[in-house]
Structures are given as C-alpha cells and as structure tokens.
Symmetry: C2
Subunit: 621 residues, 2 copies
C-alpha cells in the first residue's frame, strides 16, 4: 500500500515542498531518493552519520533507533529529529529536511548580539531607495538618452552613475512602463531596478579572521539580523597563523593571488548562503562592511602583505577604503559599496577598531579592556581619555587547531570539562565526542591544575601521579617519551577513539594564553596601571561566549581580576562591522576611533620578554 510523504523545503534551500507516494515500510531516505529529492547520506544510509536527518512536522514520531540516539543525541531526538535512513513510512508523514548539524553549530559561533541593542545607534545605512516614473525617449527629434531621462527624473548628474547601472538601464526603464527603483549611496547611483523594490535593502557585515570567517546579513532599515554563517578561512591550508600565511605570499604574486581568490571565493559562498537562507536576492545587497586584521584586510583586497610580516611591520594602507563589489568580484549588486574599516597598525587591524567601536570603549571614563581572542588576538585598553592596543598572537590552539585531538566548536566537540576525582565532559549537541575545542581545553587545564595533575610550569605530573585519586591517576600516562592525560577512552561518551591531552598540547595553550595575558598586562604596564585598576574586562571573539570565566582566570588566560568585572561581549568585531553597516555615523566614528588608538609594539618593549615568560606559567592558585 502506498503512503504519502510530504517533504518541506529547508528554510536554507527554498526548494518547493514536495509530496511523494511510497510503499509502506520504505525508509524515508529511500522514499525521498526514489522521488528525486536529494537527501545527503554520507554514510550510505547505514546510520553512521547525521547527514540524512529530518525533523518530524506531522505524523507519529517513531521511537528512536540506537543509531538515532548515537548519532543525533538526546536533545535532537527529543526535538523530533530522526535519521531518514532509520525510520520507515507507515502512515502519511510530513518531515523537514535539515542542514548538516556541524554547519549549524558553526553558525551559533557566528551569531552575536544585535545592533538594535547597542546603545546610541541611529539607523542610517546611507543606502536610499527612491521609486520614480521615468519617461523613456519617444521622439526621434528630441535629443536625449535613457540615462538623461532618468537623471532628470531624480535630479542627478552623469558623474553619479555607477558604470554597471548603464548595462541594464534600457530594459529596466521599459519593462514596467518606466516605473523604476533607484538605489543611491550618498550621491552615487548604485542600481536602477524595474518596478518598486523600495523595501528590499540589505547589507552584509563580514569579519575575516585568520581562522574563521563570519558573514551576517542584515536588513538595513531595521538592523535585523536575517542570517549568519561562519566558516573556516580556506586560506588556512596555506598556513594556520598570520606569519606563515604572509611567508607563503611573500614576494610571490601567484601565491598572493591564491590567498585572495580563496577568501573572495568563500565570501561569495557566504553571500549565496545567507541570501538563500533569508530569501533575499543577492542583487538587493547594496552595502558590505568588512573587518579583519591587517593581513586579512590586505589579502581580501589583493594587496601584497609581504612587508606587514617584516619589521617595522608597516601596513600598505590604513585609511577607511570604499570600493565596489564589482571590483572585488563579489556577487551582490555590482555597485554595492564595500567599506573596509580603517587599520591601526600592521598587527592591530580593522577588527580591533570594530571591537573598540562596538564596546563603546572611547565613550566613558571607566577603564576597560577588550580582549579579542583569536589566532591573531588583539587587546584594546582604555577609556575616553586614552586608548591603547596591541596584538596578541595566540596562534590557533584556542580554536582547536594544532592540538592533537583538537577541533573547532562544532558538533561532537568537548566544550565543557570538569575534573574532580575523574574527568567529566560535555559535547556540543550532546553528540558522540569527536575531539576537544577551545573552551573544553581551557576547562580541562583549569581542572587538571586544581587537581594537581599539571603543575604551574605546565608539566604533566606523571611522576607524582600516585598522589592522585584512583580514576584520575589512571588517566595520567607516559607513552614513550610523551606525557599524556587520557580525556576519553574509546567508547566513553561515544568516542570512536581515545582522546588525549599531550604535554605539547599544554605547551600550545600556554603559548596562546601567555600571548593574550601578557598583552593585557603590557598595556596596563605602559599605561602605568595594574589589573586591579580595571573596571571591566571584556572577552570578545567567536568563541568568547563559550569560555568559562572561572577557568579562564584559573589558567591565567586573563590577568587576576574579580570575576564580577569579566563580561562576555560575543563577536564584537562582527558587531562593530554591523554597526557601520546600519549607520554611516558609526562608520565615520570608526575612523575617529582608529585615529585615537595608540599602537603599542610589544616585541620592541624592553620589559615584554620577562612579562611574556611569566605569563606562560599558570597561576600558582
């Protein structure tokens, strides 16, 4: 007997809802495939992955199979998710296709606070739309042109016209009886669209990090976030940190080109993805604000960063630059204004400016410090009176890279760890453990320090392990020459393999947290202040929201301050970009902030080396 199966379009897909008919007992995966619907099944429909999962919308949800429970975890199973390869069609059902879980997890990382909740923002993106009726030329003797008729209708000059506007002009003017919508940015005419598209006004905030790239789509009138996507920076295959990426491109135009096309290619994927998710046509995106460190900024623009990597680390340019999507081959409206926020120095980029802007650091009298945690971390310290900034080259360890069993904060990553007489873990999505991400690493080290498994120099205490409680003791091992802590054994928490923390992993985290902590301490030192003088310490960054403040203080990622003074501010760099997207006043102010920031070159400071070495150690407790 045949039963109906209705498959809803994924909100990210916009394909039309389809209703199929399939024999009872068919798996939903097979029914979909037979009906020509492309449901991904990475493992071939054997219940070994999550790619075919669907969510029940109508009909009886079948009890979960073992595979459902293992792959999807309790939370998703409770929410009505099942693997399409596991459940069979017994009655009419309506299900929804879902995006891959790991991508979803990525997007949580990207989402940040809303611009609408930021103090003092006046919505004024600079992008304006005007619906106008244009009389097309209709008399051979009247000397005119399509463009002149348009310009006369809106009172503008030929010099205002973006060149690509001309390409489709004759059609736009004639398709709807001369009714067109003209989009402007200042005096510049960005687009002429047939008919009335006045409500369609969107923009993108792009945060290009060394490791992660976050693109957020906003409705420009309201500032509402419509979609956000985060991906690994695809340049990473050419080098995980900035210096190795600069070395790759140094005096090598072909490699430089590779880095630029990689990142522009990803931005175009992002544009397509966020627009599809939000049901927005890319041609309705008229403004883009880009932030990133100096090297990423240069690479997006195709500017040679060779000398950013050589003393005195001078950027090629620092001013706020506006170009067009057309120039960068971005697939928004061709004349969309792509605004790069200004730069402070070779290693204090537009991202630091965006963080300072978003956190209003220059607005009050309180002494505040923003720590943007990332592969190329940056620290900004100060108040209305003075702003100081430095770079904190943490490397990618806190983003889970260059760690034996490290991973990004995606599905299956160990993101929370507690240590008592044993090690207890939590994974993102409660999924089977795949590895350990930054916040998990910080928790783990904090717990191991408290338990005495690691001493303040970072050494794993293999020789003193007999003093540890039994379960914990068994996790501390010496394998060959390598000291290890076994975090999970195969099968624990669904782990398909042993997950360990090595002595070298500890060293990587020490380098990373040492860089960040010494950055904060150095800025305080230069300003003649101490940690106690801080009124607020803000943790920013894509994963700032996931770090335990107690753990961060325990390992000395941040200097010793009262936990009450520490605040999460999320992805403040992206938020700063969003502010400049929805408000030209904010974008103008960003230039003032950039000018106000004094760059402190740590490496050149005589006291830095000792402070960095001290910061590498863990606090004694």
């Amino acid at each position: 007997m045949a039963v109906a199966l209705t498959i809803l379009a994924d909100p990210r897909d916009h394909s039309i809802t389809r209703t199929l008919s399939a024999p009872t007992g068919t798996t939903l995966l097979k029914a979909a495939h037979d009906g020509g619907i492309d449901v991904t099944a990475t493992c071939g429909g054997r219940g070994r992955c999550t790619s075919c999962r669907i969510k029940f919308v109508a009909g009886t949800i079948p009890p979960p199979t073992l595979a459902d429970e293992v792959q999807l975890g309790d939370d998703l199973v409770r929410e009505g998710y099942r693997l399409a390869c596991q459940c069979r069609l017994e009655e009419p059902l309506t299900v929804q296709l879902a995006p891959p879980l790991d991508e979803q997890a990525f997007q949580i990382l990207g989402a940040g606070p809303s611009v609408a909740r930021t103090a003092g923002v006046v919505m004024d993106s600079g992008v304006a739309k005007q619906v106008v009726k244009v009389t097309v030329p209709h008399d051979e003797h009247h000397q005119t042109s399509d463009l002149e008729q348009l310009l006369a209708a809106i009172g503008r000059e030929p010099a205002d016209v973006g060149p690509s506007v001309l390409l489709g002009l004759p059609t736009a003017l004639r398709d709807d009886g001369g009714l067109v919508t003209v989009t402007t940015f200042g005096r510049r005419i960005l687009a002429v669209e047939r008919g009335d598209t006045a409500l369609m006004k969107f923009g993108l905030a792009v945060d290009v990090g060394t490791t992660s790239v976050v693109t957020t789509l906003l409705e420009l009138e309201s500032g509402e976030q419509l979609a956000s996507v985060s991906s690994l920076n695809p340049q990473a295959v050419f080098g995980g940190d900035l210096m190795s990426r600069i070395a790759f491109a140094q005096f090598n135009p072909v490699n430089l080109r590779k880095l630029t096309t990689r990142i522009l290619g990803l931005l175009n994927q992002h544009i397509e993805q966020v627009c599809r998710e939000a049901g927005v046509l890319p041609k309705w995106v008229y403004k883009v604000v880009v932030v990133g460190n100096t090297c990423m900024h240069h690479l997006v623009l195709g500017i040679d960063p060779s000398h950013v990597g050589l003393a005195p680390y001078a950027p090629v340019m620092r001013h706020a630059l506006v170009t067009t999507a057309r120039e960068l081959h971005l697939k928004t409206a061709p004349e969309a204004q792509v605004c790069f926020l200004p730069i402070v120095a070779g290693f204090v980029g537009a991202d630091a400016v965006a963080v300072a802007l978003a956190t209003r650091m220059d607005a009050g009298d309180r002494l505040r410090c923003a720590v943007d945690i990332g592969t190329n971390g940056e620290v900004v310290l100060g108040s209305r009176a003075r702003l100081l900034a430095c770079s904190a080259p943490a490397g990618p360890a806190l983003e889970g890279a260059q760690i034996r069993h490290g991973m990004r904060g995606a599905l299956g990553a160990i993101d929370r760890v507690t240590v008592d007489n044993d090690v207890h873990v939590h994974t993102i999505g409660e999924a089977a453990a795949l590895g350990i991400c930054g916040s998990g690493l910080i928790d783990l080290l904090a717990g191991l320090l408290d338990a005495g498994v690691i001493d303040p120099t970072g050494l794993i205490q293999v020789d003193q392990r007999d003093a540890l409680p039994g379960k914990l003791r068994d996790r501390v091992v010496m394998r060959g020459e390598e000291r290890q802590v076994i975090v999970l054994r195969p099968g624990d928490h669904g782990a398909g393999r042993e997950i360990v923390l090595t002595q070298d992993d500890v060293r990587q985290v020490q380098l990373a947290k040492g860089a960040i902590a010494s950055g904060v301490i150095m800025l305080l030192h230069v300003a003649g202040l101490a940690p106690d003088d801080l009124d607020e310490l803000m943790l920013a960054g894509g994963f700032g929201n996931y770090i335990s403040i107690a753990s961060a203080l325990r390992i000395g990622l941040i200097p010793p301050v009262s936990p009450a003074k520490v605040r999460y501010v999320g992805n403040a760099a992206s938020l700063g970009a969003q502010l400049c997207l929805v408000s030209e006043a904010e974008r103008a102010h960003a230039a003032e902030v950039a000018r106000a920031i004094e760059h402190v070159s740590l490496a050149a400071h005589p006291d830095f080396e000792q402070i960095f070495v001290d910061a590498m150690n863990f606090p004694a407790r």
Copy 2:
C-alpha cells in the same frame, strides 16, 4: 675588404641604430643577418616577396634589379626602396628597415594627419608624472603606512588613489630606495612605479568603426604618432552592418557579451601590437580616448544597444564617460583613464563629434560639410553658427565587403581603375591582384559610366554592348541571369582568378553612395541651402585618401560641387580622438561640440524618400 653598413631603426621599432661591417659583395640581407639584425625574408632571400625591403638613406642607390621592379613597383623603387636580398654592399651605406608592405597598406588606412599639425592644439594630456623620494616606514612605534608616506610626499589624499596602485606599492617603494615616479591625471593617482620613468608617457586613440578598428599610439608630451594599427572589426562575423549587429545582440545578453568580448579582445591585441612596434611597455599607457558610432560605443562598454535599433533609436547614454582600463580589462596601466567622447544621437556617435572637432567645423564662418565615409557613415554640415548632423548608413560596400570580389585596401587590392577602350587597373603595392577595394570600385563605376557600359539607373548594358569598343565589349557578359563586367581575367595583373563586377555589386554601391549623397543633400535641404552654397566638402574616413575626387563626383557619391571645394581630411575621427588624447582642452571642447550638433533624423523627414531614391541613380553626366 670590409665595408660599413649602418642600419637605422625603423621609426615604428625604436630599436637602436646599428653599424655593422661586412665584406664587399655581401648582400645587405646577409650582412644584416650575420650582424644579428632580424630582417624578415619571407621568401628566403630569393626576390620573391617584399618583406626584406630597405630604403636607402646615404650612399649610392644601386639600379633596381628585375626583382626590385616586380616586387616593389615603380613608385617605391623611385623612392629609394630596394630588396635587401638583391643589392650588395660595395661602399659604406646607410639604410632604413621598413615595415612589411601589407601592414603598411593597412596602416596607411589607419594613419592620419598628425595632431601636431592641427591648428591651435596645446599639448596638455592631463597625464602628469612626478619623480619623488618616499621614506618607507622604518620605526615600529610610528603609526603610518606605505600609502601615507607616499601621499605625504606628494601632498595628496587617500581618495585620490586608484585601487590597483595599492597592489604593488610596497615593492615599488622599497625596490629603488624609495625613488618612485607617480603618475596622475587631475587629482587621480594612476600609477606608482619604482625609479624614474618620467619620460614614459603614452596614450592610445581608438576609432572603433563598424567595419574597421584603428588604434594609434602617441607620445603624450609631443603628440608624436609612434605606431598605428588597423584591423577588421571582429564583430563583423555576427553581422556586417549596425542593424544586423544590434539584431544579434537584441535582448540576448549572451550575444551582447560576445560582441563586447570580441571588440575588447581586439583592442588588447592592438595594444600589444602598437606597444611592441614602438618599444613601449603597455603599463606606460595612461590615457585612452575612444571614438565610435553609438552602437560601437555601447558595445565596447557592454551596454545593451537593443533600443538604439528600435524607434526612436535612443542611446542609453550620451555624456562623455571616463572609466579605467581595469574596468574594461584593457591591458594598459590598470588605472589608465579610458575616455569615451560624447554622443549626439542613436546614429550620430562620438565619431561624428570627433570629425567635427578635428576639422574645426565649429570654428569658422565658412559653410563646410564633412562626410565620414564608412559602413555607418555620418555627415556633419555647418559652421560656427549652426551644426547639423545625420547618419548615412552606407553599408560595408565601400569598404570592399559584400562585393563579389571585394576586399579591404590591403596589398593586392585594385585601388585605381581607368576605363578607355579597355579596363586598366593598379593594385596596392603593385602586387598580384587579389580583389577590388572601395576606391577601385568608385573609379571602375565612374569609368564604366563614362564609357556607357553602365547607364544612369545602374544597369550593366549587356544588350547594348555591341556599341562598345572591342576589348571593352568582350568584358560585358551575361552569365545565366547575371550581368557582369570582367575586370581581370585569370593571369591578368597576376590575378589567380577572374575578378568581376556583378550587377548586384553595382546595386550595393548605389545604395551606399545614395545613402551618403542623400545625407549631404538632406542636411543642406533642412538648412535651406543648396550644394553651391558649400564652401568646402571634406571627405573623411579610413580610405578617404584613396578615393578619386573626380570619380566620387562622377558617380554622385557626393553632390555636384566644384572639385576645388573637395578636400581629403583622412581619418578625421581618429584625429579627433588623438586631439582629445593630447589635450584636455580639446576633450572638454568635444563636449561642447556634441551639445552644439543638431541631429537630423532623415527617415522621419517627409522629403527624404524621394531624395534618397534620386540619389541612388548615377548623374546623367
């Protein structure tokens, strides 16, 4: 005994003058080759081609050999040309290398009068070069960037910088100890080159015709023409005349793209060719001026010309537009300013404006008429008081296209014809006859009219041929349904095949000359004037120089005026472009000329049809 041979650089080659020493009796070709000078010898030095020809500058010119006479013809021999493979070194000589004849023939078509000889031109291209020493950043604590150091040195703002300038800036500033040459155009910074390149300042004048495209390279300071190249417009495969080309692109973006990439591809070939010939690096070309009819203008820019081909034939834009080479993917300096002259109407383009500008039609009180002969011919009539213009869609017949044995004015084309009791021809380069070009066609028809072979309606008088002299009579034949005049039989004048004029060829010329003549007459008619009122009638166009004025008057290509009033002005459209290239004042004036020109729409005029039909006939004599 060794004798000195001095070989002068071709003015189109700019290679250094070389003096060699070779044994007496050596052919000049062998002496040159032994001395490492690359003289082309297509036939291998056997006197069978003209590629190795040289011109004697100093020393006794040897008597011509038979090969000299056959290959070079009387004119060139008289001018001191010889084949290098034929003459031997007997005394110290100075000779000049010459470009290949067939290229020369093309280039004669392209080459026009020099801008330096045009009245009232002040050289001021707008392109300026400044050599400056820039201090690169050298202190980590000093907050600056490469660009800021540059801008401080020359007193400019970031907004002045062309985006591609940034790409190579760090290298340019450091390669020569900070000595760079900055190229500007108005406030815009076009290029920053390492070292001192102040003398390298070049520009291109481009005349994009429906059938022919002419590109001329000029030194901007002096206005000297360094090289010129002419090619068939490669769009012609998609339609010979404007209307068929518009039809091809109409509402078809893929075909539009094809037309645009074809012409831009050719322009890039031209850029490479003229730069190579003149020994100029393409990156030293900073300004380009483009003229062309409205459709060609739109197609170069990628603008949809669909409505240029539909009543009321409105152009999409008419203003003088400046874009960059980068935008058009032209391989000059990326920021080179590409200036399109303004347009008057859908069929009176920037080429007509350039012709009016170059001929100074708006300057005096004399009534003058410029006839730009081309596939899409244009006629401008007037004086300081008033300027009228119309299009004269002649079709490609006068450029040798769509004629049975027609060809362009290249090597081997019959360019001169006289008819007495027989038909006598001359070919370009005195080479073996390959076909007949426009000037030959006009001569031929004039002669055949005088001889009574063709009557005023254009009919080839096959039935009355017995009244003709014997030799002429035998050339007038009826083959099947087709009336023909045999111009050359196989073997005559080296022709490899029979070359004939068909009845249809005559009709094509009638349509072409009717369009041009009726254009002139109509403008006079609209102005309330008669041909006798004309003070001057100027023939312009790539092949204007080759038309016999007597023949042109005889066939009625131009209205009946005193031959003394008719003047050749060469490729005035290209000259107008060159004027705007070397002088910004001329470019500004072009906009005034465009505004001053009144467009007369012929087809919409009630008297046009009768005037056109009359103009199709040949004058009765």
